[in-house]
Amino acid sequence: MAETYKDGIIYSNTEISPNIYEIILEGDFEGKPGQFYMVRGWNGLDPFLPRPISIADLENGRIKLLYEVRGKGTHIISKLKKGDKLSILGPLGNGFNIKEEGKIALITGGVGIAPMLYLAKNLFAEIDIFSGFRSNAYFLDQIRPYVKNTFIATEDGSTGHKGFVTELFDPSKYDVVYTCGPTPMMEVVMKMCKGKVPVYVSMENRMACGIGACLGCTVETTRGMERVCKEGPVFKGEEVVLHD
């Protein structure tokens, strides 16, 4: 039987780039690459709902999360210190298929890079990573040991290519693609890969329960409406129905 919310004791909570934090929790946690936890960093009912955050890494039961401060929930979490508690439920969702072989491209936008460290560590393949950011690049230093080539794009040109990361990517060079980031970026990746190379997309949606009960997080797929938190967050590109 799965456990309900439990406390993770914070080992560290560090701002690794403006507004981007990395948190490490002590404990005996589990999970597969691409799975996520529902997280509450506060007592009481404000905010009311927990927040979904991906597993960035798991080592000896210690869990690492990478998150961007966007609103109230992540702001509160960013203020927590070593020794404080973070209440978490998981691991949830299906996770990435790690059995793929050949040449693999990981394509990320912004904090969509979060699940890629744990994924790269678990893929036995030749991996290139393509990461786009608004300005500063982050987290790539930790991923570099597990990948062959790193391609960076920033919208302001401060690091790497100036523009979108998809401009650097050539689908014909890869056997499999994994992507995580803003939905518009993932749509471009899916269109580029269509009919050429299989792509796995980690979808995002607002969640209430995270366990498949509320039907708040569904996306349209070829099989009908499916739950990002249960059938996903990882879907095959050809299963996701895109709307122009």
């Binding site: 309900t4 009912l45 009311f48 607002r206 329960c209 995270g210 366990i211 039907l215 997080c217």
Partner: protein, 301 residues
């Protein structure tokens, strides 16, 4: 100690999982034995399968949330085939929550449910998130009364009617439904509400308005249960923002025989167990032998 009886059906405790917040129980079974619950109200069913609404479906608000799921469900037949066998295997009361956009939808749904093992029908005339459906019946007494009367004629199961807080007058509505034959009432469903994205200068939800639930609605829900208890003589199931055993006991004191736990399930999947245990502790501590002793106690003042 915590047993309650509603329309001849025994519940081992007064805590029921609310429709739309508990699916068909499968997801929660991963966290605890769901037969510990007094009952489960299914996700709102419609005669035919529905995909639900497009666009944002969930939006958080102060001490609650808004939803516009749009009754995504497998349809009555899909429910009977794929979900009911699992629910039947658990020893708890099953309430089939049934919505519809025409009178005929409701009647056909009831006919199918009549032949199953569900214990009760919870007639949903109060879903605010589907066009020309559900809630349209739950605003005006005469339309509500008409559906309830026809539904009651053919229902072989005890039938409780789930009321909308958006009804023109909750007391009149409750009275009209009971006159029309409702064996019990559950209240309340979500409030019609609005949220705006000020940067896009657009409503958050495609349907513009959506249903508000959670602790922010509790005091109003409680008042409505209290008022309805003054005018009807059938069992009332109270809900709206219940998060704790204390909240549940307030509803019982306002006149509810049982309560439902909705949005709270999203805050913590095992919260209903805490509420059941909390009610038992309260009864022990306060020397309450049966919930009958405190039910509606507020109405006597």
């Amino acid at each position: 100690m915590t047993k309650v009886n509603i329309c001849g059906i025994e519940f081992k405790n007064p805590v029921i999982a609310a429709s739309g917040t508990f699916g068909f129980g499968r997801e929660f079974e991963e966290y605890y034995a769901i037969e510990k619950l007094g009952g489960i109200s299914t996700k709102g069913l419609t005669l035919n399968k529905r995909d639900g609404n497009k666009g944002i479906r969930i939006y958080e608000t102060a001490s609650g949330l808004m939803n516009s799921i749009g009754l995504q469900n497998p349809g009555v037949s899909g429910f009977i085939k794929d979900e009911l066998p699992f629910m039947e295997s658990k020893d708890t009361v099953i309430l089939a929550n049934l919505g519809g956009s025409t009178l005929d939808d409701y009647l056909q749904g009831i006919e199918l449910l009549n032949e199953t093992s569900v214990h009760m029908i919870e007639l949903n005339i109060s879903c605010p998130n589907v066009k020309e459906g559900g809630m349209a019946f739950g605003i005006k007494c005469d339309t509500a009364s008409q559906v309830v009367k026809e539904a009651k004629k053919i229902s072989k199961k005890p039938m409780i009617v789930k009321l909308s807080p958006n009804a023109e007058n909750i007391k009149d509505m409750a009275y009209a439904c009971v006159e029309a034959g409702a064996d019990g009432l559950s209240l309340i469903n979500t409030f019609n509400a609005l949220a705006i994205d000020i940067y896009k200068r657009k409503p958050i939800f495609n349907n513009i308005t959506a249903g508000l639930s959670g602790p922010c609605i509790k005091p109003i829900a409680l008042r409505m249960v209290y008022e309805v208890n003054q005018v009807v003589n059938v069992p009332i199931i109270g809900l709206g923002g219940i998060m704790t055993a204390e909240d549940a006991i307030e509803f019982i004191m306002a006149g509810a025989t049982a309560i439902q736990v909705g949005s709270a399930n999203f805050v913590n999947p095992t919260i209903s167990i805490d509420i059941i245990e909390g009610i038992e502790k309260f009864m022990e501590k306060e020397g309450v032998k049966s919930l009958e002793e405190i039910r509606g106690i507020i109405g006597r003042f």
